[in-house]
Symmetry: C2
Subunit: 217 residues, 2 copies
DNA sequence: ACTAATATTTAGCTTTGCCTAAAATTATAA
DNA sequence: TTATAATTTTAGGCAAAGCTAAATATTAGT
């Protein structure tokens, strides 16, 4: 698997989930900042390798093999993002580009050990689930804190738009990935909420609640 | 700087220090597992970029610019090796190939933070010095423990040949990178030594002492 | 149903980094 | 010193992954 192939697979993987259908040449070209003709070339190559099913003019669909390969790239990407944020103290919005490079490092043992070193995380710093070694994604519906109702409990899994100010606010309130948030009440007219984090109880505005992703079980 | 260019620079850097002279096309070709003609191509390219001085049939020599770039690649390589051993618990002899890939990741900030995360190490797990950000190498003569004489002090900087058994022995004796070793005495006929490590004093055979690199000041 | 617009593929070219074979240079040794 | 050996460079090609322009399919609007 070359670097380019891995990048195509990963992008197809994401687009398939978003579009819930075959992925078109143009959709791929746009996402990958490349030309449709280049995409066609690569699709033919990946079809030869049984990574996907390609039907002229009809788009592509990953095979099981392709899905697994793609999920593994995603797994590596997200684990490295956790590393960058948890260990090297990068901010959530600075890590994508670096992880984009690190995801291509080839060593199964490396990823095994990295995963253990990080404590087998389930989510990356953006709240997206980390596929397991076999490519299974715990499709934990992530949703906005603002969508919860009274007495619901959510686990913080990420942020939507992360300005430095917002991240600082979360820091101050001791909210990070994995933090349990209990909705104690919700104001109807402005969407603000009373929440509990650890032993602290406080209000958050609608704006705040609309930028925090949580997972409910 | 492409990946291939970085690899050439790094190899030239190492060969220049070993040979203490210009580096010949064939020497490079052998080290890089490639053909002389490929080397010539790349030398012309790197000469265009002012990374080295290339004289037909006379070999190459790094410029200051080239030296700095090469040293930075080496710095990254060695820092990642420290990460792999110290944090991910790889053995000293398993990390080269992985670091070979990681050294090419592009992010100045990443390396800054990695360095801090590792505690600004001066040596990699093989005892080789880590160049600083500016490419300066603390050329701390590393030598074998067996070369020391009575009352000399050495800092452990690495191993020569690292079998699992040997590494285990060092573990048991609490000897690792950075450990100070005091030579209390040396037996003439068998080369064994009495040494002090922390509060412990014990004998090491010549075999042991010949496989441990130390730095003296 | 038919044309216009859009999407996709094909053909042919470019660059990077490698290769082989042949030519040129330098080194060696009788 | 001169022929032979070894080293190095040049010339010409190849595969990967991209691009442009032209050809071909599909979709949509009337």
């Amino acid at each position: 698997m070359t670097l380019a192939e891995e990048n195509y697979l990963k992008t197809i993987f994401h687009l398939e989930r978003k579009l819930k259908s075959e992925v078109s040449t143009n959709a791929l070209a746009e996402r990958m900042q490349t030309r449709a003709s280049s995409v066609t070339d690569m699709m033919q190559k990946l079809a030869d390798k049984k990574m996907l099913v390609y039907k002229k003019y009809k788009g592509v669909q990953l095979t099981e093999k392709g899905k697994k390969a793609a999920a593994y790239v995603v797994r590596k990407h997200r684990l490295w993002e956790v590393f960058l944020v948890d260990k090297l103290k990068f901010h959530w919005d600075e890590v994508h580009e670096i992880a984009e490079q690190m995801e291509h490092i080839k060593s199964v043992e490396l990823i095994k050990r990295l995963d253990a070193f990080l404590g087998h995380p389930d989510f990356d710093p953006h709240g997206d689930p980390i596929p397991d070694k076999d490519g299974n994604i715990k499709k934990a519906e992530k949703r906005l804190l603002s969508e919860l109702i009274k007495n619901q409990i959510g686990i913080c899994v990420g942020v939507k738009e992360s300005s430095p100010e917002y991240l600082q606010y979360l820091d101050k309130k001791k909210i990070k990935i994995g933090t349990k948030i209990n909705v104690l009440g919700k104001e109807f007219f402005d969407g603000s909420m009373m929440i509990q984090v650890g032993r602290d109880q406080f209000f958050v505005s609608k704006q705040i609640a609309e930028n925090l992703y949580v997972q409910t079980n």
